[in-house]
Symmetry: C2
């Protein structure tokens, strides 16, 4: 049976005990509060893990891209929310095809997005659910005022091709509450029922019961967690399931070790320090080139040697998974699973 | 015949006219100065492009990872330099196999790297060329003094499994000259001929003839160039061959447009601005989430609309290519080639 030590490096591994505890913890929380848990698969992009989340009680999944949704539908998953404006003729054609295989809900934040979509789907004789994206402190997409949101909801509800289902926001932080509440009130006043009020974001996940009217949360990173979450106090080091096995390839100066993983292994996301070395807590990953990780070991009483393996908790789970073709599921020292990151690179 | 407008977005395209001019320009420079051009395929990871570079006169290729070299050897490429310390039993086994298929040269910067490698290769009855990596202002890997370099060269030249070929440095900037020159003198004094003095880096490529003793340059980005090079004055905007076709999916505020490509399309490399929008030169890509690009259009007299396509020159060619499965070769509006990024994700 192959073990951790047999893996060539850099190797992306998932600690299965930690992952399973992460999954159960949030599902239990959602169950306790009558909230739907809709895992965002952009984090792992692996159908087997999506099925695991559904088996634990998830109400469906979220995919950030149509291409991810196609991969998940291929794997037999049937309730999919795409919280992203789908724009362009090819996307509408693909969406229409996908509605025949899965129960699709999409987000829209303008009539410019909703109209051609509704028209195309109606022309194909199919329908998708639609939620209206509301803006947040992120200042990304989203309708910025209640009146526009209600008008868009009215237009969708009065037409064909799209079925009005409610609203979404990201993140569902305290700052997002007023606009969501006001919009829900405005919709009620027009007799438009919001059966879905979808919030999102792992950092705020455990406060979702404080968000008035929320019916479900879209969360991705909670399955693995990462070093940026530890830094921000969202989780503990022990709750991090993604671990990258690297090898020290050079120790050219007493204060510096170079590992065989850089920005093409870890991504450049989330700044310095660029991950955490489990075996050398005082070590600091201070820079990455594409295939080199620069580790400052000046504060380590014992220094790592060439050939030694270092286990790194990565900065950003989602950015990292998107660069790897294969991930190893590990229990103790045993490789229990090898997963293909099937929806990796589906940027369209 | 499919055209640019038929491509779903985000789509990674290569302007073939620009790429071919970039390739010819540096090859002509190297020919004029009697320098070997060894393209670093980490940038494109596409065998067909490596073959194109060789057909133009390249002396061989460089691969940053053994896995990339395996892909290129599969494609029939036979002269490969890996300017990277290969460490670990599995890597040595793979290296031994690869030496039977291609003329391999590897870099080493310590006896801890060279000894197990030489022993393993000798045990398998095979041999690889070896160059000694010298340090540079990058403070990454590399031997830091002439005496250590000469001792390592002596050890390699006196043993089996590795054949001493010379030295390498990255980047081959003016600051790297003294250590390289002193090391070459020390080697000559010991009767050790350096047949290969390998420099690298696209930004310094056209000054390589000023570097005493250089026999070849390893360069990757020159094939495409990117926005970080334009910013740094290394190339012009017109010399950028990589172009990403994106779609505006939201214009939630007068000053903001959101495009359907973020850090999972472009990488987070090289900071802000995160690329350049050709159709709207005053626009600034000021932030990226995974699938959202945030564009400040406040300085644009005419604002982009939802559904409009924006062509973006990416910040970092190498980081970006590593996330894409497919790239389109474009001439004018015609798609002339669709390449699989075959060595993508080969981090091992």
């Amino acid at each position: 049976m192959p073990t951790l030590n047999d893996l060539d490096t850099p190797a992306l591994t998932v600690d299965l005990d930690v992952m399973e505890a992460n999954l159960a913890r949030l599902q239990n929380y959602c169950n306790a509060h009558g909230l739907g848990l809709r895992p965002h698969i952009k984090t792992h992009k692996i159908p087997a893990l999506a099925h695991k989340q559904l088996a634990l009680g998830a109400v469906g999944i979220a995919c950030q891209k149509l291409g991810e949704a196609e991969v998940m539908a291929d794997a037999g998953i049937t309730d999919i929310l795409i919280p992203y404006n789908l724009v362009g003729q090819r996307k509408l054609e693909r969406l229409a095809v996908l509605t025949r295989r899965a129960r699709l809900t999409v987000a829209v934040d303008s009539a410019e997005v909703a109209r051609p979509m509704a028209e195309h789907l109606a022309g194909e004789g199919v329908e998708a659910g639609a939620v209206i994206e509301l803006t947040s402190e992120l200042n990304r997409c989203g309708v910025t005022d209640t009146r526009t949101a209600a008008a868009l909801a009215r237009e969708i509800a009065g037409g064909r091709g799209l079925r009005f289902r409610g609203v979404m926001v990201y993140p569902s932080s305290a700052k997002s509450m007023p606009l969501v509440s006001e919009t829900l009130a405005a919709l009620r006043a027009e007799g438009l029922a919001a059966e879905m009020v979808s919030g999102g974001g792992s950092p705020t996940a455990y406060r979702s019961h404080e968000f008035p009217g929320l019916t479900e949360i879209r969360v991705g990173t909670y399955i693995f967690n990462d070093w940026s979450y530890v830094r921000d106090g969202v989780c503990t080091l022990e709750q991090c399931a993604l671990k990258v096995i690297t090898t020290v390839v050079s120790t050219p100066a007493p204060e510096r070790a170079i590992i065989d993983g850089g920005s093409k292994t870890f991504s450049s996301d989330m700044g310095v320090p660029m991950g955490h070395v489990i075996e050398y807590p005082p070590a600091v990953i201070y820079k990455m080139n594409e295939e080199h990780g620069f580790v400052d070991v000046s504060k380590c009483p014992r220094k790592p040697k060439v050939g030694e393996r270092l286990t790194v908790i990565p900065n950003h789970a989602c950015g990292m998974m998107n660069m790897h073709d294969e991930v190893y599921g590990i229990r103790g020292d045993t490789i229990e699973a090898v997963w293909k990151v099937a929806a990796r690179g589906r940027v369209k």
